[in-house]
Assembly symmetry: C2
DNA sequence: GTTGTAGGAGTACGTAGTACGCCTACAACG
DNA sequence: CGTTGTAGGCGTACTACGTACTCCTACAAC
C-alpha cells in the first residue's frame, strides 16, 4: 500500500520561533537590520537553514507581520453600540502595531495575505453588518475604515504631524507655509491617541449619517 | 577678496533630468528595477556619475517622488464650497500618483521631505481654515484627511478590495470569511473612483457635522 | 543495524549600493 | 592663446545582501 519506508527527521524549528527571532531582530536593528544572516544568527542556526522554513525573504517578512497581527483579538465586539465596536477593533490593531513600530513599512505589502488581517476584516464587517450596512454602502464603509486605519497608523509612525516630523514642519519657513506651521504648533496639544481617535470619529459620524437616511 | 580663481565646469545634468530618467526606469521596470546602474544606463552616463547629483539611492527615490508630486496643482480651490475644494485637492493627488503606480510604495517614506506635499498640505489647510476650522479641530481634520488619502491610495494600488486582491478575497473559504467574501463580490459593482470618493465623502460628512455644532 | 528521508552547515555566485582614484573638460586669468 | 584650478566623468573594487547547490549527518521505521 503506502510504502512507509522511513520517517524523516523531525523539524527542529517552528514557524513561530522563526517569526519571534525575526521580530526580535527587527525590534533591535530596524528594518534594514532584518537580514537572513541576522535571523539565522539570532536563532543560533545557519543562514541557509532558514530556507527550510521559508521560501525567501519575502515570506519571512510575511511571518513577522503575521506574528505581530495575530496578537490582535479579532472577536467582533457586538455587545456595544456599533461605533464603539469599530473603535475597539481599530484600536486593537493600532495597539498591536504600536508595540513593534518597525513593522509598519512592511504592512502595506503583506496585508493581503495575512490571515490575521482577514479575520480582523471579517470582524469589522460583522460590526458594520449588525449596524445595518449592506451592499455597496458596506463596501465603501469597509474600504474607508481600512484605508484610514492603514494610513493613520503609517502617519503616526513615519511622522507627519505627530512624532519627529512635527518639529520639522513647525520649523518651516513661516511665510511660505503659514498654516502648516501654525497647525504643527497646535498639534502639540493633541496626543497621538486623540489624533487617531479623532479622525476615526469623523469617519464614524459620516457613517452614522448614512444609516439615518 | 573673493579669490575667484576659476569657475568649475558646468553641470551636464539637472536634477529634473535625473528624476525623469529614474521615473522612466521605475515605470518600465518597477521598483525592483530602480537601481543606480539602471538609471545611469537610462541617462547614458556611468553609474557613479549619479552621485554627483544625489547623495545616495534614498535621495534618488526622493527625487522621483517629488517629480510625481510636483505635477499636482496646489493652488487651493477657494471659489467652491469647502467640501468640493477638499475633494478636488484629494483627487489631484490621487490622479498624479495613479499615473505612476510604482511610486506608491515610496510615498510613505518620502512624504515628509517633499516640498510638493507640503504645498498640498498648505492648500488643504487653506480650504479647511476658510471653512471655519481652527485649533485642534483643524489638526484632527487635517490629519484625518492626510491619513485617509495616503491609506486609500495605497489600498487602491496594492489591492485589497480593488484590483487583483479582490479576486483573491472573493475566493476565500466562504465558511470562514463569509462577510469578506460577500463584500468582495459586492465590491465588483464599485469602481475605484467611487470607493475613493465614497470614503472621502464619509470623512467630509463627519467634518461638516463638526462645523454645525 | 540498515535504509531512506530530510535537516544542517558551508561554500559560492550574482547583484546591489557605493568609496575611491584617475583622467579630463572647462572657465577665468595672464 | 597658454596656464591653472576646480569639479565632472568614468572605472575599479569592496562589502553586504539574497539565495542556489553540495556535502554530511541525524533520526524513525523496519
Amino acid at each position: 500500500m503506502y510504502a512507509v519506508k522511513a520517517m524523516p527527521r523531525p523539524r527542529s524549528l517552528t514557524p513561530a520561533r522563526l517569526a519571534d527571532a525575526a521580530l526580535a531582530v527587527l525590534d533591535r536593528d530596524g528594518l534594514a537590520g532584518l537580514t537572513m544572516r541576522a535571523v539565522g544568527a539570532q536563532l543560533g542556526t545557519s543562514t541557509m537553514g532558514l530556507y527550510r522554513y521559508v521560501a525567501d525573504r519575502d515570506e519571512l517578512e510575511a511571518l513577522v507581520v503575521e506574528r505581530v497581527l495575530d496578537r490582535v483579538d479579532t472577536r467582533p465586539p457586538l455587545d456595544v453600540p456599533w461605533p464603539d465596536g469599530v473603535r475597539e477593533l481599530a484600536g486593537r490593531v493600532r495597539h498591536a502595531v504600536g508595540a513593534h513600530p518597525a513593522v509598519v513599512p512592511l504592512l502595506p505589502a503583506h496585508r493581503h495575505r495575512s490571515p490575521a488581517i482577514l479575520r480582523w476584516g471579517e470582524a469589522v464587517l460583522a460590526v458594520l453588518t449588525r449596524a445595518g450596512f449592506t451592499g455597496t454602502g458596506r463596501v465603501v464603509a469597509f474600504r474607508a475604515l481600512l484605508g484610514y486605519v492603514v494610513g493613520a497608523i503609517q502617519m503616526e509612525h513615519l511622522g507627519a504631524l505627530a512624532g519627529p516630523g512635527t518639529a520639522a514642519i513647525a520649523a518651516l519657513p513661516r511665510d511660505e507655509f503659514p498654516l502648516l506651521a501654525e497647525t504643527a504648533r497646535d498639534a502639540g496639544a493633541v496626543g497621538p491617541e486623540d489624533e487617531f481617535g479623532g479622525g476615526l470619529d469623523l469617519l464614524l459620524d459620516g457613517l452614522a449619517r448614512r444609516l439615518d437616511t
